[in-house]
Symmetry: C2
Subunit: 337 residues, 2 copies
């Protein structure tokens, strides 16, 4: 068994003929080292293949540099795109991402947060689920920062980043009406997360204001297959909808495929469709889906920026809650773009 034998600062010091402190200072920006010693240290370090032990450094500095990303369904187009952007920007900020998968079971997020605590992560970014209040409080008490993305929670402490789901959904209703649609429907999943429900409520509210009723159907999780089932259910109704707003693009893709292949409908002539997220597939020409783009870059940059900023002394009315705008991307699934 070849034990772990990473080279330590002491070995570098011995080889360079200096004290270990000198080595440490060489790798600490702003520390006082003469150019000569620095050079000798660097040479020895290169020769030996020395790399600062961030575990030990984290112990000392009380700052591990680790940011925990907590998410489920990470292989989903939208999630993976967000994860990509987050990890990229964290890396640029000198942090490193620790990825923890959650499932839909109870306590899954709590377990993930416990892991984050064990590794003394500087912060946790939660993309799915909601932690128990007590464990969230523990994180905050411990000095760990928390970011909730698209989880419409209201407890103070974490940074909450959300979209204007409600308002955006209203814009779709208007667009549908302008396209001459009268029989509106909303295709949702049964997941019932705040942002999905906000889209549904926003759509229904706006339609009602325009004097139209909305048929709402909910099924399964927000995936392609669920979209097909939803199409099955909505398109076999007596009063077949002529416009459907799907809560996510994945649902929309499944919906469109079923609409075209099983019901021989043409889009957008016989049926208008809108989605949400602007996943890559929405732009594929088979779908060419009109949808809302999640401001992924901005979400990530706001989160990272907030993590880098110092915690203010005063308990001032800090902007811990952001509501970003989702832009409507016009493509071909609604008439008269």
């Amino acid at each position: 068994m070849v034990a772990k034998v990473f080279v330590s600062a002491q070995e570098v010091a011995d080889r360079a003929g200096v004290s270990r402190s000198a080595v440490s200072r060489t790798f600490t920006p702003g520390a006082s080292v003469s150019p000569e010693t620095r050079a000798r240290v660097m040479e020895a370090a290169d020769a030996l293949g020395y790399h600062v032990n961030h575990l030990a450094r984290g112990l000392m500095r009380n700052e591990s540099g680790i940011i925990c990303l907590i998410a489920s369904d990470v292989a989903t187009p939208y999630r993976s795109a967000l994860l990509r952007e987050l990890t990229l920007q964290l890396q640029q900020g000198g942090k490193v991402a620790m990825l923890i998968n959650t499932d839909r079971s109870d306590g899954s997020v709590d377990r993930a947060l416990r892991q984050a605590i064990r590794y003394r992560a500087d912060a946790s970014i939660i993309l799915s689920g909601l932690p128990d209040k007590s464990i969230a409080q523990l994180c905050l008490r411990s000095g760990q920062r928390l970011v909730l993305i698209n989880r419409d929670d209201d407890q103070p402490g974490p940074l909450r980043i959300n979209l204007d789901d409600h308002e955006a959904a209203g814009r779709v209703a208007t667009a549908f009406v302008r396209a001459g649609c009268r029989r509106l429907a909303f295709a949702n999943s049964e997941a019932g997360t705040p942002s999905l429900m906000a889209r549904e409520e926003g759509f229904v509210a706006a339609a009602t204001a325009l004097g139209l009723a909305v048929t709402v159907e909910r099924f399964g999780w927000t995936g392609y297959e669920a979209g097909k089932v939803l199409a099955q259910r909505l398109l076999t109704r007596r009063e077949r909808p002529d416009a459907v707003f799907c809560a996510t693009d994945l649902l929309a893709c499944g919906f469109m495929d079923a609409a075209r292949q099983q019901f021989s409908l043409t889009i957008p002539d016989q049926l208008c469709i809108a989605g949400f997220d602007d996943i890559e597939q929405a732009s594929w020409s088979s779908y060419n889906l009109t949808t809302f783009s999640q401001p992924i870059r901005e979400i990530a940059s706001r989160a990272v920026e907030w993590l880098g900023a110092p915690i203010p002394e005063d308990h001032s009315p800090r902007r811990d809650s952001l509501r970003l705008k989702a832009d409507l991307v016009w493509r071909g699934s609604i008439r008269g773009g």
Copy 2:
């Protein structure tokens, strides 16, 4: 500034009225603690919200529990699916995944590996690119284990997991011929990674053996848009191909969309298509793509299993190179399945 104030074992010990060792032993499986003290410690730990500091534990044990995943294009369907499976299985094995994004620039993988060393990762799993020999050697010398997935490298030390790309590609050629196709083409990206090239070579070799020539076209990276361009190029040729093997499913999706919409071809009647990876979209009914499924679960489980196994004393002829089989998933893009 609320400094980090994670509760330490000492505080738990004080509260429970025992020594710090007792606390440590309580959280160390197999250590000798009486039931009473264990109970008192647990109670105090719960009350204070204590969690073992894995940074310090890693320092002691010389084993951080961190596994580094190094990859580019993590938002891609295939990559994200593999990442998901890896992180899941690592979690089940009690490890934790650290995700490092690379780009296509030189030294990107090397920088990622350096980061892995700094955090004293127990192992690194590389999904994209190839590390420089010297840095790879440094990892191995340091006792860090290395796994290369679909990177057909031949240096000893790392575990290398590859597919039977060459042979699989041959099976497609046969299928095309059986479907009555005569004018074969291969659509590749310019990335030139070993597995992509193996698919190309395997296809060409098999076709040649069957007495058919293959038109090869390469463009861009392995994405949807590149697939469209490749269709543009291949389908405007004098001798239009009647069967195209795309190096990846993403290329195939782009290719199919262009073939249908710009060239009004029907699939599989006028054009047979095959892909590779079996990404989720391949099963979407707009594509219904015949393709090879990457044995993602097996790749992940083999990797995790290998990481968990002890390094054998003797330098025996260890199975450090695995070649897994990619199964052909018959769908509707080749005639006569």
